[in-house]
Structure formats: structure tokens, C-alpha cells
């Protein structure tokens, strides 16, 4: 056979084979590996066609359900690495870990966020702020040389200076730096591990007003060693291996009496802060208090009358397990999931302490904290 003929045959085989397989093979509605709902086929109505919703939807559908999608994505990551790329889709790939790229923030946004906290702190008593660095700060020596990342340590220090006298900063950075040889951040996910959160917890006692317990007060349970996190989902890069998830149980049988998840439309009640159903799914980090919800309230067996309100992102979910010995009630409020004022869920005056807990990545890109001003 001559080469031209072979070119034509190979091209046409590929051209027909891939779409036929795509349409014939069964479809998923959810991608476990990418951890997201896949696009559904749009309806070809006249309106959808004239405003191009149908076309865009179809392209999204076809790409989402393309045969061997995960393998194609993984292959692309390998080719990009071979071509000298060190960062793929906002994720640094190094020998030992993946790290989220936290770049220079939009300072106007950040200043507004800080001002919102300051205003809140001026009106409430006992307000603390914990800005948590992400792994790219703690392991910056593992990043590619000259990678243009934010100096999170210096940035957090400068942010703390803008908070005013009534918001008390918690320095977790130095403690985390000291603990960098331990597994304090997941290698395939953007969160800190329980050990990382524990390290931050130990650094929080002075400001929050309790004596932190030592590690021996908790019983550590390895809940999973099969965790592939959000950074893996973005790259489908297999070169790092899997992470383990540890749960730190406070050794007191009656520690948690009730966990109430208020999703706005409905309230559900649980017995534990660990949502073990998630351990069988892709999104295993959600074993800590479930996925992000508007308000989650944890009631403990403590009768010390101390109630803590936390405005937070998901870093707080794993941190919260260490607060159980110290509070009677902990409310976690995620302003990103609340339309309007948080006051339709709870009154801040019912709580005698407030903590703002965000990682630098969320805090520098999300403006939902400014919704605090909507409260009376």
C-alpha cells in the first residue's frame, strides 16, 4: 500500500471511530475523576439556536462525554510536561506534590475584604482572623525556579496590619513552616491535612483563649489512603500517588451531640462531624462536615457556654474537629453560598466569639466576605 493511501485510511478510521464510540458507549452524568457534573445535551429549540445556547451546549456535551476523556486529559498533561511546562491549568507539578498557583492578588478586592472584616470587628467583641497559607507557600523551595508566585507569608503579615485593633490575627504561617517535614498538606489536593489544621490549631490557642490539647488527646484514624484531590482532578496526573486522610477523634464519647446542616432550602441533622459517605466517593475531603453549605452548626457535649461563629472556606472543615473540646457550639458560615445577609440563618449576637478562617487563595479571589456589610 502506498503511503498516501495509508494516510487517508488512518485519518478516516480515526475520524469515524472516535465519534461512533462516543455516541454508542454509555454516558455518565458525573465525572468522578474531575469531580464535576457533566454537561447535558441541550434542546434544539429555535431560541436556543438563535442565541447559540444549543451550539455551545452541544460542544460542551460532546467534549464532556468524548470517548476516553480522562485518558486524553492525562495524555495532554504528559505531553505538556515533556514540552517543558511546569504549571498546568494553574497547578504546579513538582516531583513530590502538586500545588495550586496562588498569584499576585487584585489588591483592591483584598482591601475591600479586609475592610469588611475590620468593620465587623469594630462592632463585635472577640474577633479573630486566621489566614492560612497554601502549600505553595510552605513548599516554595520545591517550586520551579523563579516561579512567579505570591509571597504568602509577607502578604499575610501585611494583610494583618490592615485589620485594626479589634480583629486579632492568628499566626499559623510560622508554625506550619516549622512542621513542613510532616504531611501537613495533601499532595494532590489544595487543602491542608488534619495534621496541618492541628498545627494551626495549636498556634490559635492564645488568640482564641483556650489551652490547645496535645496530639495525644486525639485518636487518629486513617480513614482513607486512596484520596486523589482537586489538583489531581485538574491535571489527571498520576505521577504523585495517592493521599491519606486522617480523622482526629477527640477521646470523649459524648464530644459531639448534633451536627445541623442548613442548606437554606432544608435542614438536616447528623450525629457526627465525619460524613463517611464521602470516603467512597471522589471528593473524600468532604468527610469533614460534608461539602460547602451555607451554615453548619456543631453542638458538642460541652456545657461551658462558649459559642464560636466561623466565617470560612473549606479549610475550616478540617480545623473544626479540634475545636470540639473547647466550645459548646460552633457555627460555620460560608458566605459564598449565601445570597444576601447571613442573618436569615443566625444572629451574630448569639455567639461570643467570631473567627474568620480563609486560605490565601480564597481570600484573594473571592469577594463574598463583603456581604457582611448587608447585616444590620
Amino acid at each position: 500500500m502506498n503511503a498516501k493511501k495509508l494516510s487517508v485510511i488512518l485519518f478516516f478510521v480515526l475520524l469515524f471511530l472516535l465519534p461512533i464510540l462516543t455516541f454508542v458507549l454509555p454516558k455518565k452524568t458525573f465525572s468522578e475523576s474531575e469531580n464535576r457534573v457533566l454537561t447535558t445535551m441541550p434542546a434544539p429549540t429555535l431560541d436556543n439556536i438563535t442565541d447559540k445556547k444549543f451550539m455551545n451546549g452541544f460542544e460542551g456535551y460532546f467534549s464532556d462525554h468524548f470517548v476516553l476523556r480522562d485518558q486524553w486529559i492525562a495524555a495532554k498533561t504528559q505531553v505538556e510536561l515533556a514540552a517543558g511546562k511546569k504549571e498546568i491549568g494553574g497547578v504546579f507539578l513538582t516531583k513530590d506534590r502538586m500545588m495550586e498557583d496562588v498569584s499576585k492578588p487584585d489588591q483592591t478586592l483584598v482591601d475591600k475584604n479586609l475592610a469588611a472584616i475590620k468593620t465587623y470587628a469594630d462592632r463585635h467583641s472577640s474577633v479573630s482572623v486566621l489566614l492560612a497559607p497554601t502549600s505553595a507557600e510552605i513548599y516554595k523551595d520545591e517550586l520551579p525556579p523563579n516561579a512567579p508566585v505570591l509571597d504568602q507569608s509577607a502578604w499575610i503579615a501585611s494583610a494583618y496590619e490592615k485589620l485594626g485593633a479589634n480583629a486579632h490575627p492568628i499566626d499559623a504561617v510560622s508554625a506550619l513552616h516549622k512542621a513542613k517535614n510532616k504531611e501537613i498538606y495533601y499532595r494532590t489536593d489544595h487543602h491542608w491535612t488534619s495534621l496541618g489544621a492541628f498545627t494551626a490549631y495549636q498556634a490559635s490557642g492564645d488568640v482564641l483563649g483556650f489551652t490547645p490539647l496535645s496530639a495525644s488527646a486525639f485518636e487518629v484514624e486513617r480513614a482513607s489512603d486512596q484520596f486523589l484531590g482537586t489538583l489531581y482532578s485538574k491535571t489527571l496526573y498520576n505521577g504523585i500517588g495517592k493521599d491519606s486522610i486522617d480523622l482526629y477523634h477527640y477521646q470523649d464519647d459524648n464530644a459531639v451531640s448534633e451536627v445541623v446542616v442548613n442548606a437554606g432550602s432544608k435542614k438536616s441533622s447528623y450525629q457526627s462531624i465525619y460524613f463517611r459517605d464521602f470516603l467512597d466517593k471522589k471528593d473524600k475531603y468532604s468527610v469533614f462536615l460534608g461539602s460547602n453549605q451555607p451554615v453548619v452548626t456543631v453542638k458538642t457535649g460541652n456545657k461551658n457556654g462558649k459559642k464560636l461563629l466561623i466565617f470560612k472556606d473549606s479549610y475550616a472543615h478540617c480545623y473544626a474537629q479540634f475545636l470540639i473540646p473547647h466550645y459548646e457550639e460552633i457555627a460555620l458560615v460560608d458566605l459564598r453560598y449565601i445570597n444576601g445577609s447571613y442573618e436569615k440563618y443566625l444572629e451574630s449576637s448569639d455567639y461570643d466569639q467570631t473567627l474568620f478562617l480563609y486560605n490565601v487563595s480564597t481570600f484573594t479571589t473571592d469577594n463574598s466576605i463583603q456581604k457582611l456589610a448587608l447585616a444590620q
Partner: protein, 467 residues
């Protein structure tokens, strides 16, 4: 629709090819016509009507020019009528905002800018269709009496949205009578896949670097970052545009068409005049045939030649977009080409090839600054950074990081801009008996890698939305 999408590659193309090759000869043009309309309507579900209107105007003009062949005055009025409608539509949909904003600014008026969205490819298809009327008027071609054949020509999906500008005369015979051969199809497949690779692997990847650099305010750019950025754009626009043209020509060959080639290693040019004979060839030759020569070309003495050149280059700039930076970019080339014609060429001829290539490449890169940076102030700051007069200094950590990240892609882009890979392939094929089978293997590999990049496309822009 764009070529570099999974939907085009793995839904549109197989369906169209299947129908095209199993249906009898008579139905083939219908398949082409319907697929062309669908291809265009996929991106412009409403403006597709405008495309049909343009084609109908030129078809009618052609018939009338043919019918009243012995009535010169009538013929002139048909030509003018067609020109007014064709260019009028182009002016309304592409240049209204530009006129309004400038008129408001210049005369202190307060006309409301209607902000009409620009129909994709309007500059390409208007010029294509217009070539028919102009050639009919000049009696260079035979009339096309079959409306569907004419509409098929205008809507040919391979070239409708991003060129090459295929004149009616280029395909006048093939539109009604053409043959696919295995050898031509094989050549077409190869050209298409290589074009896809240029776009998806080289242009998109190096383009991401330009996007990063453009995100840094021009007055803070270190010199090295500015150079990396503008070189990235230099390669992005070449591989994107020539990749599209290759894909178009390749698809044409699979169906038996011979579209004119649009690029011929332009970055190896030894003068700017030569650059424009190797870059977007079909646009340059369009302006030459229908503007420069009708204006008198170089036959009316130096002053008239210069005027004609400036008109052509003003229009070339304006064709690329309704904005002053494009006009300036066009005039920039007009001035350089005039200089070359008047005195520079004599001097250049004495220099070694390598220096001439560097000279041309340097001026082209300087041109891309005007082309892709909106606003004279920003372009000025960018030039300052390029020559080390910016506030960003010589380089910073980020410059080094970008260099180390993109070094290999730059090397591939540089190699890909030359004809060395082609020469090497030809050498191998002549030397080794089975080396010819490297081509299908290479194409298969390229197609697979492109598919992987399209499945997870993070950056896949369409650069010609302003054309």
C-alpha cells in the same frame, strides 16, 4: 464553527465526508452547500442570511453583466450597484462603530453607537464573492448560471471564515467538475493534520505566553518579558493563521479542490516586499488585482505609484479591523515598502541573506506590536520596554521563569517557521525506501495529540473575529 474543535473534527467532518463520498456526483454540491450553511450558521445563526444576501447580489450582478455584455454603461452601473451593496454591508457591520466613535470625537457629536456584532468572516467572504463580480466586469471569467453552484462556492466551509481568499476564478472549473484521487486526498489529509497541529499545538501554546505578558501593564514590563511576549505573538499569529489556511487547503484537496496557498515561510523573507508576497498571499494578490492595478499600478510615474501603494496599504490595514492600530499597521508597511522600492532595496541586495532575514523579521515583529496592542499609548510603552527604556528594567524572576517554561516551545516554533523540517523529510524519503511511511505515522500521532489538547482545551482562541 471553527476547525480546532472536537465538534468540527469528530461530528461535522465525518458526517459531511460520509454523505459527500457515498452520494452520487450530482448531489455532492448540495452536500457541500448545506454543510457550508450549517458550518457558518453554527457560529452565526442569524447572520447566515447576510451571507446568502451577499452571494445573491454577486450572482445577480454576474448574470446581468453577462446578459448586457454590449452595454458598457449598463455594465458599469451593475458593477457599481454590486460594489455599493457588498462594501456597504461590510461598512455597516464592520466599521459603523469605528465611524461613529471617531465622528463623535472629531466633531463633538453625540451619535449613538449601535454596536452591531461583527459577522464572522465577513471580510473574507465579501472579498471572495466580490472577486466574481469584478472578474465578470473585466471579462476574465465565464458566467456561472447555476445559482446553487455559485452559493456553493461562496459557502465552501473550508475557507469561509478565515481564508484563504479563494477567488471564483481559482475554482471556476472545479466547482462543477472535480475529482478526488487517493494521492490528492492523502496530500490533503497530511496538510490538514499539519495545519491542525500548527494551530492546536504551536499557536495555542505559545499564544498562552502572549496572553500572560499582555496581562502585565506595559509600563511595568521588563525588557526580556516584552521580547518573549511579542515573539510569542509573532509565532502565534503565524501558526494560527497559516494553520487555518493549511487546514482549508487540505480539506479542499480531500474533496478535489485546489485552493491557492496562503503562506510560504514568510519569516524567511529577505525584505518586507517579499514578506508580503509570502504572508496572507491571497489578500495581497486580491488588493493587487482589484485595487493597485485598476488605480494604475506603477505605470503612472513615481508620484502616482506612491499614492497607489499608500491607498493599498491603508486599505490592507483597515481590512484587518476597524481600529486605528490596524490602519497604522498597514501604513507602516506601506511606508517600508515605499522605502524599499525607492532606495532600500539597492542597499539590501548587497547584504548577506542572513542579515536580510533578520532585518525583515525585526520589522515584522515591530509591526505586530502595532497590530495587537490597542491604543497608541500602550503600544508606545511596549516599544519602550522592548528597547530597555521602560520602568520594568532588564528582566525579573518572572522573565526567567517564562523563558524556561517556554524555551522548548520556542525552539519548535522557530524550526516550524523554516523549511528545514520539510527538506529533512524529503531527504529521508529519497534516501530510505520505507521512510515514506513516516508521514502517515507522524500524521496519526499528531492527530492523536491534537485530540488530547482539544478534549481539555484551556486556551483555544479564534483570532480573526475582528477581520
Amino acid at each position: 464553527m471553527v476547525f480546532s474543535s472536537l465538534t468540527f473534527l469528530y461530528v461535522f467532518l465525518p458526517v459531511v465526508f460520509l454523505l459527500y463520498f457515498i452520494l452520487p456526483k450530482k448531489a455532492k454540491n448540495i452536500v457541500l452547500l448545506l454543510s457550508g450553511l450549517l458550518f457558518y450558521a453554527w457560529g452565526e445563526p442569524v447572520y447566515v442570511l447576510l451571507l446568502i444576501l451577499t452571494a445573491s447580489v454577486d450572482y445577480t450582478a454576474g448574470r446581468l453583466l453577462d446578459k448586457y455584455d454590449d452595454r458598457p454603461k449598463l455594465r458599469a452601473s451593475f458593477l457599481i450597484g454590486a460594489l455599493v451593496i457588498n462594501l456597504g454591508l461590510l461598512a455597516v457591520f464592520k466599521y459603523t462603530s469605528f465611524f461613529v466613535v471617531n465622528a463623535n470625537g472629531l466633531f463633538g457629536l453625540n451619535i449613538n453607537d449601535p454596536k452591531l456584532p461583527l459577522p464572522i468572516g465577513i471580510s473574507f467572504y465579501t472579498f471572495q464573492s466580490l472577486s466574481y463580480t469584478l472578474d465578470m466586469y473585466m471579462r476574465k471569467i465565464k458566467v456561472q448560471k447555476n445559482y446553487l453552484s455559485y452559493l456553493t462556492y461562496v459557502t465552501l466551509f473550508p475557507q469561509i471564515v478565515a481564508g484563504p481568499i479563494v477567488r471564483y476564478s481559482d475554482v471556476a472549473n472545479e466547482i462543477d467538475e472535480r475529482k478526488t484521487t487517493v494521492s490528492l486526498a492523502g496530500e490533503g489529509v497530511g496538510q490538514f493534520v499539519r495545519g491542525l497541529g500548527k494551530k492546536v499545538l504551536l499557536a495555542n501554546n505559545i499564544g498562552a505566553l502572549w496572553t500572560l505578558v499582555k496581562g502585565i501593564p506595559a509600563d511595568e514590563l521588563p525588557m526580556m518579558t516584552a521580547w518573549l511576549g511579542i515573539l510569542a505573538f509573532t509565532f502565534q499569529i503565524y501558526f494560527d493563521f497559516s494553520g487555518y489556511s493549511d487546514m482549508a487547503c487540505g480539506l479542499g484537496k480531500v474533496m478535489g479542490f485546489h485552493f491557492p496557498e496562503n503562506f510560504n515561510y514568510p519569516y524567511l523573507s529577505k525584505s518586507i516586499s517579499e514578506f508580503w508576497r509570502r504572508w496572507h498571499i491571497t489578500l495581497g494578490s486580491w488588493f493587487k488585482s482589484y485595487v493597485y492595478i485598476p488605480l494604475g499600478g506603477n505605470r503612472g510615474g513615481t508620484a502616482k505609484t506612491l499614492r497607489n501603494l499608500l491607498v493599498v496599504w491603508f486599505l490592507t490595514g483597515l481590512w484587518h479591523g476597524a481600529s486605528w492600530n490596524f490602519i497604522l499597521w498597514g501604513v507602516y508597511y506601506g511606508v517600508i515598502i515605499i522605502c524599499e522600492k525607492l532606495f532600500l532595496m539597492k542597499f539590501l541586495d548587497k547584504l548577506p541573506s542572513f542579515i536580510r532575514i533578520v532585518y525583515s523579521f525585526f520589522l515584522v515583529v515591530m509591526g505586530w506590536v502595532l497590530f495587537d496592542i490597542d491604543g497608541l499609548g500602550a503600544a508606545g510603552n511596549f516599544y519602550k520596554a522592548l528597547f530597555g527604556f521602560g520602568k520594568g528594567g532588564l528582566m525579573d524572576g518572572n522573565s526567567l521563569y517564562l523563558l524556561s517554561t517556554y524555551a522548548l516551545i520556542f525552539v519548535l516554533c522557530i524550526l516550524g517557521s523554516t523549511d528545514y523540517p520539510k527538506k529533512l523529510a524529503n531527504k529521508l524519503i529519497h534516501k530510505f525506501k520505507y521512510a515514506c511511511y513516516l508521514a502517515p505515522a507522524y500524521e496519526l500521532g499528531l492527530m492523536l495529540v491534537c485530540t488530547a489538547f482539544l478534549v481539555n482545551a484551556t486556551y483555544n482562541p479564534f483570532l480573526y473575529f475582528r477581520f
